[in-house]
Symmetry: C2
Subunit: 150 residues, 2 copies
DNA sequence: TATTGTTATACTCTATAACTATA
DNA sequence: TATAGTTATAGAGTATAACAATA
């Protein structure tokens, strides 16, 4: 009954899934009154712990000027504070407030919940098979990008 | 050797794939000097054919005011023109120029090429298995969103 | 009255360039 | 001299609200 899918049909489904994940994230952002780039910064901060704006600029791959704006917004919304760097008086340590830490915790919980909703029903074997397909695709992508740079 | 992946690890890989696809698209946009939202509009226009700004606003799920700005930019860059609607003098028909049509053709070719690069090496059976995993995940997502609305 | 698209206004994200304070 | 962060300036995308022309 099912004819074999074309590579293009499969890519379309990857894109569709990507859009749905993005939409789910947008819902979380709207509920928490935090924009995408600010969420990204908070997520990074949750992984790294308090760090300089320069480090955030490198991690998020945006300009230092951009980080200034994002941190300004997150200070206004009460998610982070700027603390003095203990040894370098030029630098500031962007530090989560309790509200900011709570946000990151909810974000992590939401992430885990989505994973469970999407994949929790699969048997370990099904999940392994599907994940292997993802791994292969990610590898192909890595090779593709290496090739284009060379 | 491979322990079974966790649902969360699999979701992380879906997100990683999503980011790579987005990065690939960004490269195309930069090469063509067209921004993401304008590309989206042109893609939609390629599917629908010439249509009103109102129809584009509905299709892209943005405000009519926003479409005005996007079309302004695409008129400036020579990708579309505003033509009078044959029967409704309030409306305009956003219409691709030859340059705009060429852009959409290149976008489609790029899409097909990426699909081939990512999935062309898989056997029909492997591709079918992987695609089935995607289908299941998309279905779970659909159910999840229905449930949240109810 | 309702609809199409625009003007007016405002906010966020993004970038480059010039500048200050510190290393 | 080099680095961390800011001010200044600019452009794109997004939204709401008020308005004009037309249906």
């Amino acid at each position: 009954m099912t004819t074999h899918p074309s590579a293009e049909a499969t890519l379309d489904k990857v894109l569709a899934l990507s859009m749905l994940v993005t939409a789910d994230m947008a819902r979380f952002e709207a509920a928490e009154r935090v924009t995408g780039p600010r969420l990204h910064l908070l997520w990074q901060l949750g992984m790294s712990g308090p760090c300089t704006q320069r480090a955030l600029a490198d991690a998020l791959d945006v300009t230092p000027r951009n980080i200034t704006g994002l941190v300004d917004g997150l200070v206004d919304s009460g998610h982070v504070t700027r603390e003095p760097h203990p040894t370098d008086r030029r630098a500031t340590l962007v530090t989560p407030t309790p509200a900011g830490a709570g946000f990151v915790a909810r974000l992590r919980a939401s992430h885990a919940d989505l994973a469970e909703q999407l994949f929790g029903h699969m048997t370990p074997r099904q999940l392994a098979t599907f994940t292997r397909g993802l791994d292969e695709t990610l590898e192909r992508f890595a090779r593709l990008m290496d090739g284009d740079q060379a």
